[in-house]
Amino acid sequence: MARLTWAMAVVVGFTMGCDGSVMVGAGEPAALPREPNGPNQVPSLSQPDPMNPTDPCAGAPAEPGPAPIRRLSNAEYANTVRDLLGETQAPVNDFEIEPVVHGFFNNAYTQAVSQLQATKYMDAAELIASRVDVSKLWPCTPTASNIAACSKQLVEQLGSRAFRRPLNTDEVTRYLTVFQAGTANGGDFTNGARVLVRGLLQSPYFLYRPELPNEGTAGQVVRIGSYEMASRLSYLYWLSMPDAALFDAAAQGKLSSPADIEAQARRLLADPKAKAMVSEFFAELLKLRRFDDVKKSAALVPNFDAMRPLLKQELEQFVTHTFWEQGTPSALLSSTTTYANKTLAGYYGISGPTGDVFVATPVGTGRAGLLTTGAFLSMSGSEELTSPTQRGKFIRENVLCTEMPEPPPDVNGFKGAVDPTATTRERYSQHVSDAACAGCHTLMDPLGFGLEGFDAAGRRRTTENGKPVNASGSITGLAQGPVAFVDGFDMANKLGSAPEASACFGRHWAHFAFGRSATPAEACSLQSLDRRFAASGYDMRELLVLLTQTDAFQYQRVQ
């Protein structure tokens, strides 16, 4: 199965069968036939490549790709009810766990609502409505004599914020009826408001972000509407609903031009709410929530339970600081500054931090970037042993963006006795000596071996079972050819300077931003994105703005 993930100008993303055959096709954009220019076609935003006068993308019309309807993810739901109603304890931990696709929870195609989840939405709506400060919702003071007009105002104002667009007359009537169900049979105005909130929070117009063009023939490419663009921007940067300024801009039609959109993009990115979005991105990509359940044996580390929260905090602070202060995937992979307090510094055997507060500190010999953080290193493996395959799989899939197929159904289990005196590297040798295993494992294990200088709890080691650790190897699959490394520090630096790794983080941001993978038809638009990302020096902060300048962000195809 060939799948085009977000194609970049460098070759990434080939899949490999376990018999060693290489199936190229997923990564390289092929020359596309030009779509005929019709009278309603929108001019392209893609810049032709001046170095390639026969660039098939020159003058290509805008190609937005598919836009599957997106439901609020659990994180987005929590943020939205906070901004809409002041609810700070939305019960999203009880919601159905979201499937992980390409590392993230928000893939639009897997957001179907089961009966359990529909029940959860009802329970959450009733709970949130019971706690909301109703006095803050009313745009007027309701009395017995003005209630008809005042409740209508409430429905219009609260409804338009909940649906993120003005309500039509049918909808106003519909939700007035809901309000009135709450004032019937002895209910007061407050109860009416609460029932209204319950209804709004269960409506598909709240839970999903429909994008319904008002005009255009099927197949036509049109700009995203104003209110939908406001939501696209706010959910991209804040994982939440638009603010008043965005709603105003939508109402005035000031979200239609690329320049308008870029200006809002920069404003939202600079807002403190964007920090939570970036933290959520890394928490999902690095599976940080699973780290809470990682255990290590007392024989390996006497106090891992006490260290776990510190290791997690280090990784969270590392990615946050590195993103906002340096911004490049290269820094993420090779920075030698980390964040620790005195206890964590002691665990690592480095000096610097003197108190309980986390501060920036040089990371110490042998470490560089997120792959050598204690949390990343401890997340894989067992309670005592490292797993080079698991560590290497993460690097291959999430740093080099090569999707690894599953083991085939008939794979043989690990045979034979485990030699307790062997090193991990020696024990894993069957993976590469056995032809059936080697095809896939040669992509993963060597990268994991590069981290064998760190034990299963993330501490440095130079020997294992009395034998010296060998953490050398080579990074295969790069356009420049195999790149040798002598140890984990060297490997991290070389990954950091590989263009594939930078492009791969670009791809992750695109998956997170759009909630889907790319399609082959979008290759031209993506080439343009990639060129501009590279021209920025692979600055992810700039990438987040560039994403709003793509065809996929600004246009949609009429259904």
């Binding site: 199965m1 696709v101 897997t110 529909a118 409506s203 043989n412």
Partner: protein, 458 residues
């Protein structure tokens, strides 16, 4: 868990014709002949197979056998069990799929859809291409009980292919209720006996409000569905269907026909537990089993699924000294005593199965038989497991096991070795349908996967 006995109480009816029904009241006062109890189905879904080095299964002849080590906890129920050798998931060998892709096939008997959204992390399989037997039974028995089915989970921590065994249709997984409080809420919350000293309410305001909310939400879906494309509509329709199901269940609180009940139907206490904490796994297991048994006893549903963890779960059974996740143990990895740990995990699951059978067997039905006599419980997994033929992930020799007499349909207390002509699991599923009353059915899942050979189940 303490149980509250309900006192006899007249059906409350308010001015609006809405009340809180006590469904089993009529039977408590009924006189006359006792009907044959209905048959119930329960799927018991574990994963990563078993240990195929003689520890699973049975030894002996068809009618004179003993359980091997891992099934020893089932000894008290031997006469009500059918243990097999040589059952394959043949339907899931048809198309190549990921190592554990047959998770979706255990109770559906169909292969997965090709390609799919889990590429990279979960292989190239999509979800199964058809519904699972618990959902089919729920649909075909619709109306005979208040709830078509209940899918309960014990820390099911994956909502992709490797964490779903119940499907209402092709490509449509049903999420398990991991929180026993949610199971209680759905099945039992309407049983709450009202305060005998309070005046009877004239209307149930919450029900009226909910009805109004649901009406508005449904109208929004209808309006939206007119404007979206086909692909979006499929997802929105699924959401709407589930809202309608909730609406039906809320409405049935006042209109349900009182079902026959056993003398042991009683409202359980409302559970409250941190249901995703690993250390609470055994307590959650017990609660979920107790709730399913009581749901059957109270005739709230006749079809249930109990789903355990997920293929790649990080659960470690610390309460039996296990320090490695089940999946690693199933490959003999993660510790030098991996097999001993693996044995502990599998034994623990057998003990849970035995506890379940014990709960069902302790409930006496109106005609003197037990709930276990009138149930068919099917235990399945997605692969054969360690040491099996093909090793690791083969779909042959799946450790299927059935318990309960299915109302007399199954001739239990036997060890059926299918020899070299393996049985196909679609035929087990078909037999379940027949036991549940659908005697004219000729296949389940796919016709070409059924009637492969004589099954010798009856």
């Amino acid at each position: 868990m303490t149980f509250k006995r309900l006192s006899r109480r007249a059906l409350l009816r308010g001015a609006g014709g809405i009340g809180i029904a006590l469904p089993f009241l009529n039977v408590m006062e009924a006189k006359g002949q006792v009907k044959k109890p209905p048959v119930r189905f329960l799927g018991f879904a574990t994963n990563t197979g078993t240990l195929n080095n003689g520890k699973w299964g049975a030894t002996g002849t068809e009618t004179s056998f003993s359980f091997n080590q891992l099934l020893q906890p089932l000894n008290p129920y031997k006469s009500k069990v059918l243990v097999f050798k040589g059952v394959d998931m043949h339907a899931n060998m048809l198309a190549s799929s990921a190592a554990h892709g047959a998770t979706g096939g255990i109770f559906t008997g169909v292969p997965n859809l090709a390609g799919g959204q889990f590429s990279g992390q979960a292989g190239s399989s999509g979800y199964p291409s058809g519904p699972s037997i618990d959902q089919v039974l729920g649909q075909r028995l619709a109306g005979s009980t208040r709830f078509p089915s209940i899918v309960s989970g014990v820390r099911v921590d994956d909502s992709g292919l490797y964490g779903r065994v119940s499907y209402s249709a092709s490509n449509t997984p049903v999420a398990p209720f991991n929180n026993p409080a949610d199971v209680y809420q759905r099945l039992f919350s309407s049983f709450t006996a009202p305060n005998p000293n309070a005046p009877a309410p004239t209307v149930d305001r919450l029900q009226l409000e909910r009805r109004s909310v649901i009406d508005a939400v449904k109208a929004d879906f209808d309006a939206l569905n007119k404007r979206v494309g086909q692909e979006d509509k499929a997802r929105l329709d699924q959401h709407l269907t589930n809202i309608r199901q909730i609406e039906t269940e809320l409405q049935s609180m006042s209109t349900a026909t009182p079902p026959p009940a056993t003398s042991q139907c009683a409202v359980p206490a409302k559970p409250s537990i941190d249901y995703m904490a690993q250390a609470n796994y055994p307590a959650v297991a017990k609660l979920q089993i107790d709730l399913i048994a009581m749901a059957f006893a109270c005739e709230l549903t006749r079809s249930a699924m109990l789903q355990w963890a997920s293929v790649y779960s990080d659960l470690k059974m610390s309460w039996v000294g296990v320090t490695v996740n089940h999946h690693s143990l199933s490959h003999g990895e993660g510790a030098s005593n991996a097999e001993a740990q693996h044995t502990s995990v599998l034994t623990w699951y057998s003990q849970q199965f035995a506890y379940l059978l014990g709960k069902l067997d302790a409930i006496t039905e109106a005609d003197g038989s037990t709930l276990l006599d009138n149930s068919t419980v099917m235990w399945g997994s997605d692969v054969t497991g360690r040491y099996g033929p093909g090793d690791g992930h083969a779909r042959t020799d799946i450790p299927f096991l059935m318990a309960g007499k299915g109302g007399g349909y199954f001739r239990t207390g036997r060890y059926i070795d299918y020899g070299s002509n393996h049985a196909w699991h679609n035929d087990l599923l078909l037999a379940v349908m027949k036991a549940m009353g659908f005697t004219s059915d000729t296949f389940f899942g796919r016709a070409d996967q059924c009637n492969h050979r004589a099954m010798n189940l009856t």
